[in-house]
């Protein structure tokens, strides 16, 4: 018996070892590009051209990061990514707040104040989630032109808000549908009106899905390139467009370390949001299954 038990334990351990080594191998493979980016951004240019690509830097330097942030040339202006990073922040913060806010209101109306045709409207909004970016570029450009918002950050805020409403509405509708209608009725009898119920009862209960919506929208809008490159130019570009210009504009030797540092600077905020709010993200996505 003891022997059999021992061999069973051994075979289980072998299985475990294989599974874990497989997983670790795959994870390492997946992390390889990030590794290359990090080490390259920390090397002086000569070392890179000397042939070291994957290995650790011999000389550790943050010069490339500083250069990417404040000196790299984008087109003719050598301002670094800094102003464009700020552009992106100016775009992403209002766009996330607006689209999440409107989505919450939409979800609330579509679940608790149903009206004739509300399901149709929800269906059409859902359809919007499947609209490819390319399909809206031309009409959107015309609208922005008429509104006098072409090539501006507020214009981009509008574009992202409109495009994001479909997703945020979907999130909030599906969340609010799990909140019993009796809650709204009880509040009505207590004397609360439309907005009072929304702000005092629905929104506080919707915290998990708000986090989901914010992360989702933040990632989408921050990482967007197509709308940015289509509707802005020059100084009002978001960081993704600027990054493209940094990498594509080369004078003399290609500065791989600066390119890598710039790419990481552009990617840091989404990473930051995931690390800070990631656990709420998972919780929010599964929140519908749990009753309060």
């Amino acid at each position: 018996m003891a022997i059999e038990y021992g061999s069973a334990a051994r075979s289980r351990m072998i299985g475990r070892t294989m599974i874990y080594s497989g997983l670790i191998g795959l994870a390492a493979f997946y992390l390889m590009p990030l590794w290359v980016m990090v080490v390259t951004s920390l090397k002086p240019l000569d070392e890179i051209y000397g042939g070291s690509f994957i290995g650790l830097p011999k000389v550790l330097t943050f010069e490339a990061w500083a250069k990417a942030w404040s000196q790299a040339c984008i087109g003719t202006a050598c301002t670094g990514l800094k102003p464009y990073f700020i552009n992106s922040l100016m775009m992403v913060v209002p766009a996330v707040l607006l689209s999440t806010g409107i989505g919450a209101l939409n979800g609330y109306v579509l679940t608790k104040w149903r009206f004739k045709g509300s399901n149709l409207i929800f269906g059409l909004l859902l359809f919007g989630c499947f609209l490819p970016f390319q399909a809206v570029i031309l009409p959107m450009a015309q609208v922005l032109g008429r509104l006098g918002l072409s090539g501006t950050i507020p214009g981009l805020v509008l574009v992202h808000t409109v495009y994001g409403i479909c997703f945020t509405t979907l999130f909030f509708r599906n969340y609010f549908v799990t909140i019993p209608d009796e809650l709204t009725k009880a509040a009505q009898i207590d004397g609360a009106g439309f907005f009072r119920i929304f702000f005092s009862i629905m929104l506080p209960a919707a915290l998990p899905i708000m986090v989901v919506s914010c992360i989702w929208q933040f990632t989408q809008i921050w990482n967007d390139f197509l709308f940015g490159v289509s509707f802005t130019a020059g100084e009002s570009s978001p960081v993704t467009v600027a990054l493209n210009n940094v990498v594509n504009v080369t004078m003399g030797r290609k500065q791989y370390n600066v390119d890598m540092a710039a790419a990481m600077i552009a990617a840091l905020p989404t990473l930051f949001v995931y690390v800070v709010a990631g656990r709420y993200f998972v919780r929010g996505l599964t929140a519908g299954a749990v009753k309060g």
Binding site: K185, A186, A187, I189, D190, G191, S200, P204
Partner: protein, 365 residues
Amino acid sequence: MATLEIDRVRKAYGTMEVLKEVSISIGSGDFLVLLGPSGCGKSTLLNMIAGLETITGGEIRIDGDTVNDLSPKDRDIAMVFQSYALYPTMTVRQNIEFGMKIRGVPTAERERATRDAAELLQMSHLLDRKPSQLSGGQRQRVAMGRALVRHPKLFLFDEPLSNLDAKLRVDMRTEIKRLHQRLGTTIVYVTHDQIEAMTLATRVAVMKDGIVQHLDEPQAVYDRPANVYVARFVGSPAMNIIPGRLEDGPSGPALVMDQPNGGESRISGVVVSDDARQRYAGQPVLVGIRPEGFSVSAGGPDCVEAMIEVVEPTGPDTLANFTLGGTDVIARLAPLAVRAGQTAKLAVETAKVVLFDPKTELRID
């Protein structure tokens, strides 16, 4: 405290009529129970009183004032829901104070009212908890507290005990009754549980298919149900409805019911009005006898012979099943009074026998 008049109220969704001319009127301090199976329109009616559903036709008056076009908050009502509907992100205290806060009640008064309600419902120690930290019974208490603090004219209860387990349900039922006796408020209470209706109500409205079948005091509904449906719905086990025949002889009216062996049972001494006696003499009728309307007897003109098929002892009494008039009949007898397989003589309490017309199924008076 207020009176409530429901005057020929109708509700239709498109062409589908959910309520058909419902008229109910109760006095100040009454406890009205709307009783019926799901889909009978009782919850719809309650929501219409609350103002959560529009009224298609007719009028609802609270204390004489028509409230048809008033929004829920202006009707001076409070409601307790089946799912309790506590605001999940607020503490018990905030839940109770929410309504007063919206109505701009000053803080001091608000605190006093909350304290009073919490004491009345014995939940002072729960005030700082969130609803998710409470048990079902405690949530129910909070929901009632939230309704109580505003001292509304009218309390509405929508199946408040359905989500509780059996033991707690009985406890809370008593508590609601005690509250009603103490506060003397006017209450409308929706349930599908006939025992809740019997124990709580001062007036019961039995509903089916959007029509009030019977509106009366609970004992009257139980003793003299308006029709076969009400007779079967109220009481457990239900009233026995036995096909039979009314015969008028020199010794007074008698009821004749078929025995399974081909013979007939005859009960005399039935109380019937002269009018019914004339109209139904020699005609088939449905004989309504409550299970407790039978008792073991030595014999007599009010007796039927029963071949007992199954015996179900419940403790305080025994339910005996037999066949009479071609249908299963249940009698509630003293414990150990009969045994299965035996033939027993059962006396019928003739004063409590109710007759129904077999075609219209309405009570014959």
